[in-house]
C-alpha cells in the first residue's frame, strides 16, 4: 500500500487513493485528497464534506446519493440538496469524490 506524507505525518492510501485507516483523517489529509482529485476546497465543499462526516459518525455508513441530497436539503436547504449543486462542487460525483475527501469508506458499488 502506498504511503503519503502530509504536514509531516505519513498515512496509508489504497490503489485508488482512498484513506486506508479512517481514523487517520484530519483537515490536512482532506486537503491532500482534494488536491489529488483536483477539487479546490471552498467553504461550500467543506460544508458537504463535514456533513458527510457527521452523517457517517451518526449512522456508520456513507449515504446513497439520493439519501444524501434529501438529508442535505433538510439541513442546509433545497438549493444545496440537489444533484446539480453537488456535481458542480464534485464533478465526479459526491459518492466518489466527496466521500473520498471526507475519509469515508470506498463505496462497494452494490447496485
Amino acid at each position: 500500500m502506498p504511503m503519503v506524507e502530509v504536514a509531516g505525518k505519513s498515512f496509508e492510501v489504497d490503489e485508488e487513493g482512498y484513506l486506508t485507516n479512517l481514523a487517520d483523517w484530519n483537515q490536512d489529509i482532506a486537503g491532500y485528497l482534494a488536491q489529488e482529485e483536483k477539487v479546490e476546497m471552498t467553504d461550500s465543499h467543506w460544508e458537504v464534506v463535514n456533513f458527510l462526516r457527521e452523517y457517517y459518525e451518526e449512522y456508520q455508513i456513507a449515504p446513497a446519493v439520493r439519501v444524501l441530497t434529501k438529508a442535505i436539503s433538510k439541513k442546509l436547504g433545497a438549493d444545496k440538496g440537489n444533484n446539480k449543486y453537488l456535481y458542480e462542487l464534485f464533478p465526479y460525483g459526491p459518492a466518489k469524490q466527496a466521500c473520498k475527501i471526507a475519509g469515508l469508506p470506498k463505496p462497494t458499488g452494490c447496485i
Partner: protein, 119 residues
Amino acid sequence: MKIGIMVSEGPYNHQASDTAYLFARTAIEKGHKVPRVFFYHDGVNNSTKLTQPPQDDRNVVNRWSKLAEEHGVDLVVCIAAGMRRGITDDILAPGFRISGLGQLVEAGIQCDRLVTFGD
C-alpha cells in the same frame, strides 16, 4: 415459472449449496427456468476455481459452472461479500460473475419465486 435462488453458505461446510444445486437442477428438469443464482455471505466461496475436492467427492463448484453453461443460469457473486472474503475476478470458476447486491433484489422483482438456502 422463473425461480431465483440465493445461496448463503460456502460449499462442503454446510449442505445449503448441495440442496440449492439439486433444487435448481430439478426445477430446470421440470421445465422451470432458473434465471439467476445469487451467492451471498459465505456463499461467495462457491465460486472459486481454486477449490480441489477429492476425486471421490462431488465437485460443488464445477457442478454450478456446468449448470450455467448448459442452462444459461446467471451465477452472481456479491461484490461486497466477495471482497471481504478474498473473491476476485481472477479466481472465478466459469459461469460466475461478480456484481452488486442489486442483482439479488432484481432477481426478487423479476422472478416468480425466490428461494433461500443457507445456515
